[in-house]
């Protein structure tokens, strides 16, 4: 795919930035029309650089860049609305979401719907106590966008509608099967929680949160392969209100 030479005022968020060459930053940004892009911010590490303060994760931006190669040159950055205030578990969860995007999306692969889901999860992470449901919906949409959407409202083999009060086991790459039909090694989840994920109405109780986390952890681990997420380490020290990024489901 060929990349345009010049892009003006594209909405975007910084997923990550690191020092690059003498005084520049290499910014990994996520945008609706161009997906993940690598941008070089020249001179952004200088003490007087105005860009440096803006090029922070979780900050809605308008980005302009030039150049058609794998790395383009950032030529402009503006704030696009007020800064999001992420704190506590919400902030640490934000790093988890960013790491997921860096690990699971390819550069220059446009995902407008996923960008929308990303903006939605950041908004959700600002809402203390509601971080986990927001993460579960994001994970569901991420898998869907990557082409690994989960079957949530029908049984895998029979195609029967999911019953809210029934317990299921989720078979990877297949879907839910009634728990009394075997498959005990796979994550258990009640029908009501499958349906809540399907309809994106995650009013989970404690059990629902645990089951949904187990299911998503398992499904995402299959995409990540051997290398675990580093951001999970951040949740190991948090004794209370453990976030969704720390799973109880175990890796597949």
């Amino acid at each position: 795919m060929s990349h345009p030479r010049r892009v003006a005022l594209q909405p975007g968020h910084v997923l990550h930035q690191r020092p690059y060459r003498d005084s520049s930053l290499l910014v990994e940004a996520f945008t609706p029309d161009f997906g993940r892009v690598g941008l070089v911010a020249r001179g952004a590490r200088g003490p007087r650089s105005r860009m440096r303060g803006l090029l922070q994760p979780f900050r809605p931006l308008l980005l302009s860049w030039a150049g058609g190669g794998d790395l383009a040159t950032l030529v402009g950055v503006e704030a696009d609305g007020p800064m999001r205030v992420l704190a506590g578990v919400g902030l640490l969860s934000g790093f988890y979401v960013n790491e997921l995007l860096v690990r699971l999306t390819a550069r220059h692969d446009p995902h407008p719907a996923l960008y929308h889901a990303y903006v939605a999860v950041l908004a959700g992470l600002q809402d203390s106590g509601r971080e986990e449901p927001a993460l579960r919906i994001f994970e569901k949409r991420l898998l869907q966008e990557l082409g690994y959407g989960l079957l949530l409202d029908r049984e895998a083999t029979s195609g029967r509608a999911i019953e809210p009060e029934r317990l299921y086991r989720y078979r990877p790459e297949l879907g839910p099967v009634p728990a009394d039909e075997g498959a005990a090694q796979y994550p258990a989840i009640h029908g009501r929680n499958l349906l809540a994920l399907a309809h994106e109405r995650p009013d989970f109780d404690a059990e629902g949160l645990r089951e949904a986390k187990g299911l998503m952890r398992n499904a995402i681990a299959r995409q990540l392969g051997d290398r675990p997420l580093k951001s999970r380490d951040l949740f190991q020290g948090a004794p209370q209100r453990r976030s969704g990024a720390r799973g109880s489901g175990g890796d597949a």
């Binding site: 704190a87 506590g88 640490l92 790093f95 951040l234 020290g237």
Partner: protein, 198 residues
Amino acid sequence: MPHLPVVQRLIEALRCLPGVGPKSAQRMAYHLLERDRDGARRLARALDEAGERVRRCRLCRSLSEDELCEVCANARRDRSLLCVVETPADTQAIEQATGYRGLYFVLMGRLSPLDGIGPEELGLDRLGARLAEGEVRELILATNFTAEGEATAQYISTVAREHSVRVTRIAQGVPVGGELEYVDQDTLSHAFRGRRDL
């Protein structure tokens, strides 16, 4: 005309300095060789000496000539206050700007999962062990006001609370002499949220 091999080596060596590209390295090299041989010898001796003698303080991990740095070894410093910073340069800045009389813990970085830097890499287990000793009453978090600096502060605050240590975060606000009209949005928004009673 190509540089002499020995000059070329000097140019290459100078490029290890931050912000020094090939052009400025070349300028520095020729300046030292053509105009300031004395300066060049002093620089060489100072680098050699510093490289040999400077190590990390056992307690705070900042640079030191001895096992303990001057601050950590000073019996008059308040050992119940511990200030967490990202780099030794931050320690210097606080020493010069404030009358702080407590001790420091230098992280030598910040949490950055995408760079593979987690709590373990920052030696936060050692910080936890230090807090467990019970001497520290207040932990002052002076990491940077970046997303990673905030996440680091957040993580450390949970560790500190496990040890029942009071945690404070340095304030963030409008610069001295700053006029609101010209202060950037984010700074103003932080300052507004961090308002206090008068």
